[in-house]
């Protein structure tokens, strides 16, 4: 049995012959997360997939833009494990390269949305009064416009680079976070440690960052995780409509762009990129579910 004795109490108890295991919060969370088998499996799968995608230049069997006109629209075979597309490009290679962009877009867009939502929500909840009123009306406003149609309109005339897509998705996916964060802050800020911090003369910004946010990080982290999946799906929907990241850079979304027309003769071009999206988002959501259980102190 491992013994961690870091404070006087542990020493004193140890002296009486009792072994004490002081566990940090992070460790408790980690142990609870490991109990969620599905989330653990999903994490391992996702890490492997992400590693394969990001190592694509080293391990991919072909170049992602290597056109091979002798081998166009070939079904899966030993040479091309997942077949080739209309230009004879290897689908597996393109899936790996596409995963780099799609996963990156998912992560960064969710981070951006979470950051904006946390900023707006924490300001509204902490300061209250007029600032709260103003920011919450802003949230209501953003919430009332159907998000997907709005994102479609904006991406239809903005330059379709990965950065642009991240910005668009991030800027229109903060509303949920801001409401959750505001609600959490309203309840946390009544705690005595916040009053104590204020009495000690701490600045508002410091109180929010040091004392309030760490106590509501559970809901922020879980929300951000689900945001990753949503962003990947939004990117793929935009690309399907021809509004995502423009070719030849592959993303899982734009690989599906013209797939509807060729689906009856080359179904693999539709099935595999969609499976990649499905499995990734599924794993991300399982991890979110596991984190929710692990981070909830009442469980």
């Amino acid at each position: 049995m491992s013994e961690i004795m870091t404070d006087g109490q542990g020493m004193a108890l140890a002296a009486e012959g009792i072994t004490v295991k002081l566990r940090s919060n992070a460790k408790i969370t980690w142990e609870k997360f490991l109990q969620h088998k599905l989330a653990v499996v999903a994490s391992l799968f996702l890490l492997t997939l992400a590693a394969l995608c990001f190592l694509a230049p080293l391990i991919a069997p072909f170049e992602f833009d290597a056109i091979d006109l002798a081998n166009i629209r070939k079904p899966p075979s030993a040479k091309h494990l997942l077949g080739t597309d209309a230009l004879g490009r290897d689908l597996l290679t393109r899936l790996l390269y596409g995963g780099r962009i799609s996963i990156t877009i998912g992560l960064t867009a969710a981070m951006l949305g979470t950051a904006i939502g946390t900023l707006i929500g924490s300001m509204a909840g902490y300061f209250g009064g007029r600032i709260d009123n103003l920011l919450m009306r802003l949230t209501d406003l953003a919430y009332s416009i159907p998000t997907l149609p709005l994102i479609i309109v904006i991406s239809s005339y903005s330059n379709t680079q990965a950065v642009g897509i991240v910005m668009i998705i991030g800027f229109f996916s903060w509303m949920q976070t801001s409401r959750v964060v505001r609600g959490a802050i309203l309840s946390v800020k009544e705690n005595e440690y916040v009053t104590a911090a204020r009495a000690l003369g701490s600045k508002d910004r410091l109180i929010i960052v040091r004392h309030v946010l760490p106590n509501i990080s559970n809901s922020i982290i879980v929300g951000a995780t689900l945001g990753v999946g949503n962003a990947i799906i939004t990117e793929s929907s935009l690309s399907f409509l021809g509004l995502g990241v423009s070719p030849p850079t592959p993303t899982w979304g734009n690989m599906l762009m013209d797939s509807q027309a060729t689906m009856s003769s080359q179904p693999w071009l539709t099935i595999f990129p969609g499976m990649a999206i499905l499995l990734t988002v599924l794993c991300v959501n399982f991890i979110g579910d596991g984190l929710q259980d692990a981070l909830d102190p009442t469980l």
Binding site: L141, P146, L148, L282
Partner: protein
């Protein structure tokens, strides 16, 4: 209650005004303007002709002038004239409305009929095989892009099995109820998928919360059958928050309809929206976006009213 509804309705006015300013600005921010699509086709080369075209559409004026013109007309029920077809936007939307309502309505009903029993059984038989499968299926459904699910359905049922038509609302020359039903099955299934997954999860957790309540124990101890306790006491109370979520989602179905209608060639408002976007038909885009936003705002109020009506503990001031 009536005073509450009136007050909320009055509050909607500034919200909708603010929404219209935001949407108008975003739509007008498009570089190139509506003549861009004509230039792409190489139709106008004479700058004077472009200016004349812009003047005819009214897009040569400052944006705030255009906005107030739009707002003034809107207040009299005039949503403007489509750039593409030169027809009133209101008429175009109304023409497409029946097909969209049919699709959304069927999806809503199907989703409700499936999701609520699914959630109830999952909760009553928590951690059973049924619960496990239902939970797994809803995770998969939520992780699946709507358009890809549609494509897979088309591949399976239209290409491979040839049971259902790929797209459209009716076969020319055939028609009839069965034919129309065959056309609507796939789009309605695709559109309802996310709702089924979301609502059944929500119903499950709501049921689990209710089943631990004291009044359920009381009902059991009175000697009522398990069936009665669940169907009368538990489901009724557990569905209150679910009904309110479902009401909110009616407006959200519109976002899904944009994608679903595009895949299945369904001639509704969602598909018209995509066409308007490609053609940069500002008045039509504006009309459809405002319709979508108004739906969200109105159903938000309806959801709150239903909640207060179903749950006597809630009173609105």
């Amino acid at each position: 209650m009536l005073r509450y509804v009136i007050r909320r309705t009055i509050q909607m006015v500034p919200l909708l005004l603010a929404i219209s300013v935001v949407i108008f600005t975003i739509i007008q921010a498009a570089p190139g303007g509506p003549e861009g699509t004509l230039l792409d086709r190489g139709m106008f080369v004479d700058p004077a002709a472009i200016d004349a075209y812009r003047a005819r559409l009214g897009v040569d004026q400052p944006i705030f002038v255009q906005y107030f013109k739009w707002l003034g007309a809107m207040l009299t029920g005039d949503m403007g004239i489509s750039f593409q077809t030169q027809r009133p936007v209101l008429i175009m939307i109304l023409e497409r409305m029946p097909d969209t309502l049919r699709l959304m309505g069927l999806s809503f009903v199907v989703a409700a009929i499936i999701a609520i029993p699914l959630g109830v059984f999952s909760a009553v038989k928590q951690y059973s095989t049924f619960d496990f499968i239902a939970t797994g299926a809803s995770f998969v459904a939520i992780a699946m892009p709507v358009f890809w699910f549609g494509l897979m359905m088309q591949y399976l049922f239209s290409v491979k099995l040839q049971w259902l038509p790929v797209a459209g609302t009716v076969t020319v020359g055939v028609g009839g109820f069965v034919d129309q039903l065959k056309h609507i099955i796939m789009p309605a299934t695709v559109l309802s998928m996310h709702s089924i997954a979301g609502w059944s999860r929500y119903m499950r957790s709501s049921m689990l919360g209710v089943l631990n309540q004291d009044y359920i124990r009381t009902a059991h101890s009175k000697g009522l059958s398990r069936r009665t306790v669940i169907s009368v006491h538990a489901v009724k109370n557990a569905s209150i928050p679910v009904v309110s979520v479902m009401t909110l989602d009616i407006a959200r179905l519109f976002s899904g309809a944009v994608i679903t209608e595009t895949i299945f060639g369904w001639p509704g408002i969602g598909r018209m929206f995509i066409q308007a976007m490609h053609a940069r038909d500002y008045p039509l885009l504006m009309g459809i976006m405002m319709m979508g936003s108004t739906m969200v705002v109105v159903f938000n109020l309806i959801a709150d009213v239903i909640y207060g009506w179903l749950d006597p503990r809630i009173t609105y001031e």
